[in-house]
Symmetry: C2
Subunit: 332 residues, 2 copies
């Protein structure tokens, strides 16, 4: 089988980021790193969906502003989200005058959009591209699970969809944080059909892409300061560590999961955070800050997505999952 | 503003295609060009959604077979569809062992996925990529509009979602049909909120991308034998011709719309065909046959998408639309 990893010779840079998160999220690790900490998760809008869209537009606009450039300097935005027909991304794109490339990778969207942006920049097609995604607890909950008004009890294996959005401007040059490689994942389905147990469903996809990346690049896990998964949560993280260990690869010492670390106090969130916004906010605020300060220098950012819908689950299908990964490194 | 068009120096080739369509579609122009003409639009499955997924998997598999290669020769599939969380594409991807890049562009998906595939091949990242999409009348109708059992009367400005799927293998070399350029569209919203009038909503996006393409490439409309839109239908086609004419560009002599030509007898379909499968089937069967026979040599394939959801419409939003275009030419 051919290699699934692209090595970017031009090492496209992440020149800026923009992030926003809800009050519950900002009580945790990302609170002091985000550009905007919301005190109200409605963000002044009349519906959760409109709030989600506004967060995404904010993250895109803020990333552009943080790069000290203007909208006309951007050649394209690459974005997607969890809502049906990715309406957050499409409606956010309406606010801007640059082309829009819509993607769907569920919670893997931040890695997918960064990989595509880096590929387009590396190939010399464009100069500056915004990659962004986000999610909202309330819009995801009522679309994927139950009406919020029902007040359903959540099972212990469940996760809590992050309310937040993050975006990054990828460019030819500027700063020292580069995207040096991307590994595109394939769909992996281990037959799990419990829609409240996303971590277990997604862990095999993460394992597959991480191992593929290490094999394609000839790197050992300790090449990276951190191997970051998107939103496996506490249970899913344990599974991915077991699965890779079974294949003779030990990621335990340097693995961290955005979903596992995003909330300080795990109460209702049980296994931690999830949603496209989870890895988008943690990567673009907390992790990018550590990269910029050179506290860490090499990160494998592997975001996973569960590609189910309420219809597929209703028709008895299991949950196909995917993981895309980008290698983000300081270049000296 | 920067140019939105990428010229592919390596001229990636469309080396093969695979197509399947339902009985109503095969009574029309594509009937004698598709690889498989279904006599039953359930395709042996128990639900419309599963039938849609099976059509997409068939088109992908058939395109690979028609290229006289095997699954292991494919580096990636790029696909999306109209269903929530693009489950047709995700579940079809489960059948194959290559990476999956999920995209969402509604009915613009065929052009979007061809553009991405060509970009990846042109950049030298991969050798062979399948681009594919499809749709199903019954799954789209019950997701976007009303339960089929209601038997709602359809308004005269409505279109009929095509039941069918198409895929193409894009490769470095092989045959004479090449993707020479791609223009990525931006989101255009003229404030139309009638979900039964997609053609009118999408026409301004088509106009924008076609004009951008012609400007970026310095080409006149008559450079192309055909300027093909995806699924504007009869009314939308008239609007796009008017809109471009108002901007001083006359596409009338060589414009054709897949939605307008796909059905022979326009009865219930009113304005013609729509859906991601519409342009996918017409392009990959009928138009590619004419290109291979060199009856036509230069086609601008501009597929449009309406990026709405039932939630966005229910919350009073208008319909943001997009159009991506690829230039497909015989190289001698």
């Amino acid at each position: 089988m051919s290699a699934h990893t692209v090595l970017f010779r031009q090492k496209p840079r992440i020149i800026s980021t923009g992030t926003v998160a809800g009050p519950k999220e900002c009580a945790g690790v990302v609170g002091k790193y985000v550009d905007k900490a919301l005190s109200d998760d409605m963000f002044g809008e009349s519906t959760y969906e409109k709030a989600e869209c506004k967060m995404l537009a904010y993250a895109i606009g803020k990333a552009i502003e943080n790069a000290d450039i203007s909208e006309k300097d951007i050649d394209m935005m690459i974005s997607g989200d969890l809502l049906n027909q990715i309406i957050s991304a499409s409606f956010a794109a309406r606010d801007f005058d640059f082309p829009f490339l819509g993607v769907y990778g569920a919670c893997s969207t931040m890695a997918e959009s960064l990989a595509l942006a880096a590929a387009f920049i590396d190939a010399g097609y464009f100069n500056r591209i915004v990659a962004a995604t986000g999610s909202h607890f309330s819009s995801a909950e009522r679309q994927y699970r139950y009406p919020l008004e029902l007040g359903n009890t959540r099972p212990p294996q469940s996760q809590w969809t992050v309310t937040g959005a993050g975006g990054a401007v990828v460019a030819k040059s500027g700063g020292g944080v580069a995207i040096t490689a991307a590994t595109f994942g394939k769909v992996v389905d281990f037959g799990i059909s419990d829609v409240n147990n996303m971590g277990a469903a997604m862990a095999p996809a993460a394992c597959n892409t991480i191992l593929t990346h290490l094999k394609d690049t000839g790197r050992a896990p300790d090449y990276y300061d951190l191997i970051v998964t998107g939103d496996l949560g506490a249970l899913g993280s344990r599974i991915v560590k077991d699965l890779t260990w079974e294949k003779g690869v030990d990621i335990q010492p340097n693995h961290v999961d955005c979903g596992e670390i995003v909330y300080n106090v795990i109460e209702d969130e049980f296994q931690g955070g999830s949603g496209a916004g989870c890895s988008a906010v943690v990567f673009n605020s907390y992790l990018m800050d550590k990269l910029r300060r050179r506290e860490i220098n090499r990160v494998l950012f592997a975001a996973t997505g569960a590609l189910l819908s309420t219809v597929s689950s209703g028709q008895g299908e299991s949950i196909p999952c995917i993981c895309h990964a980008v290698s983000v490194e300081n270049v000296f």
